[in-house]
């Protein structure tokens, strides 16, 4: 803990020094950034933009994770489906995010659905690939056990399949969250009238570096809070049977 605090203090000191060297316009001091943050918060723009972005992140993340898990599971179970869908997956994995975003806006207009859809499609192939691996690693002896004791499909899914896929779902969620929020900012920059990406875009046009940094750091803080308050406790809960061993 003490090293973390020292490291953070060192970062602020280096920032302050660089700011003094480079000048306040190019790199505003920590204090100037903090003042910009307070101003945004007071006008209500900060809360509005953060909420808009978080809503998009949540929607795109949920869609990508659910659809990706379903498709990945199907590909892991059926080798025929895997062979059919694999070229599509490779195409999607290598299609640049920007192309997907622009095409979505061109084809479906500058709408909320196009924005969220474009982000979800960017995240989708990665989730599919991860869950496909997870499904291939499922233990066939437990499947057989479920069959011998005539488990119904719901019991099988809940007690045999999902617990085995949990680490893969967690990995997909982890990488997904950081990927999704970065792409959401781009989508907002290009075609949305609110959100953190939109605010940063406006600040860029006004050469307001303090506001760019204020939004950037604020968003990092929000994501860190989600990670420690939501993702980590969930992971601990899912792996409690492991930790008690020994």
């Amino acid at each position: 803990m003490i090293w973390r605090i020292a490291s953070l203090a060192g970062f602020l000191l280096a920032w302050q020094l660089s700011s003094a060297l480079a000048g306040g316009t190019l790199l505003p001091s920590p204090e100037a950034v903090f003042m910009a943050l307070v101003e945004e918060a007071r006008s209500g723009a900060l809360a509005l933009n953060l909420l808009a972005t978080l809503a998009r992140v949540t929607a795109a993340f949920t869609v990508a994770l659910l659809a990706g898990a379903a498709i990945g599971y199907a590909m892991g179970r059926s080798s025929t489906f895997d062979r059919v869908a694999d070229p599509w997956l490779i195409l999607l994995l290598n299609l640049p995010a920007l192309v997907i975003i622009l095409l979505a806006y061109v084809w479906f207009g500058l709408t909320e659905a196009a924005a969220v859809g474009a982000v979800a499609i960017n995240k989708l192939p990665n989730t599919i690939a991860t869950l496909r691996e997870g499904t291939r690693a499922l233990d066939p002896t437990l499947d057989e056990m479920g069959q011998a004791f005539t488990f119904d499909p719901w019991t099988r899914a809940r007690h045999i399949v999902v617990p085995q896929l949990a680490p893969y779902l967690a990995a997909a969620a982890r990488t997904g969250l950081s990927l999704v929020w970065k792409i959401v900012l781009v989508v907002e920059l290009i075609g949305r009238p609110n959100g953190v990406g939109f605010a940063i875009g406006t600040a860029f046009q006004l050469f307001d570096v303090a506001r760019i940094l204020a939004y950037g750091l604020c968003f990092v803080a929000v994501m860190l809070a989600i990670e420690t308050c939501l993702v980590q406790p969930l992971e601990r809960h899912a792996s409690r049977w492991r930790s008690r061993k020994g």
Binding site: L142, M145, A148, F149, F151, H159, W241, R244
Partner: protein, 242 residues
């Protein structure tokens, strides 16, 4: 083909069972196996390792449909004790049993856990158990479903002898108190001679039934001398020796 029969009788008739090896060639592993199990009868299936005993058990359980023949079961409620415990590592012992047997009452589970010495381990996860205890949990699960047919695939293998004896006694106590038709796969002839009422011997390639021996003496009255004489008789029926 699987059918549901009446009067609790189990009938097995397998003309042929082939498997495809990794090299791609088809090989017969079971041929001309036919027997019926009377309700409540405890039978052992004995044979050298690799003779297809586990495959036969899987066919009877309906886990393998790729065979030529017929299996008739009393009803579809099956208790299966696999060679490895096959418990769900992310569920506690009690949850493992309850998931397989949602209809079991608390009193029933208490009784089964008591007989098997699992009363203090209900909340433990399988990873926290020794192999002996994990096997007991697997046996508890198989009994909790109130099976019409109990299939046991070498449930005592790799346990030390005292522990194996203890688990055998507990298992027999449960089987006798519930009158469950049971089929026990083992390669341990002495174990078979001590525990069961009938021994079916498989041998050869493909494996065929080479003997079907009833043991009429009640279990409790079998002396060590009697057990070893039965074991000799089983051994004499085998084409190959261990």
């Amino acid at each position: 083909m699987h059918r549901v029969g009446e009067a609790g009788k189990v009938e097995v008739s397998i003309r042929k069972k082939a498997v495809r090896s990794a090299a791609g060639e088809r090989k017969d592993i079971l041929a001309d196996i036919a027997f019926a199990l009377a309700p409540g009868e405890v039978t052992a299936l004995v044979g050298p390792s690799g003779s297809g005993k586990t495959t036969l058990l899987k066919i009877i359980a309906g886990l393998d449909h790729d065979f030529d023949g017929e299996v008739t079961l009393p009803a579809r409620r099956l208790g299966f004790v696999f060679q490895e415990p096959r418990l769900l590592p992310w569920r506690s012992v009690e949850e493992n049993v309850r998931i397989a047997a949602p209809q079991a009452t608390d009193a029933e589970l208490d009784a089964i856990f008591d007989v098997l010495g699992l009363a203090h381990h209900r909340r433990h996860y399988p990873g926290e158990l020794s192999l002996g205890l994990a096997r007991r949990a697997a046996v508890a699960r198989a009994f909790a479903v109130r099976p019409d047919l109990l299939l046991l695939d070498e449930p005592f293998v790799s346990l030390d002898e005292t522990l194996a004896r203890q688990l055998q006694d507990e298992l027999i106590a449960l089987v006798e108190s519930r009158c469950v038709t049971s089929l026990l796969v083992t390669h341990d002839i002495l174990e078979a001679a001590r525990l069961v009422e009938r021994v079916i011997v498989l041998d050869g390639r493909p494996a065929r039934m080479v003997a079907d021996l009833p043991i009429e003496m009640p279990r409790a009255q079998r002396s060590p001398g009697f057990v070893s004489s039965i074991a000799e008789r089983i051994r004499a029926t085998r084409l190959t020796t261990l």
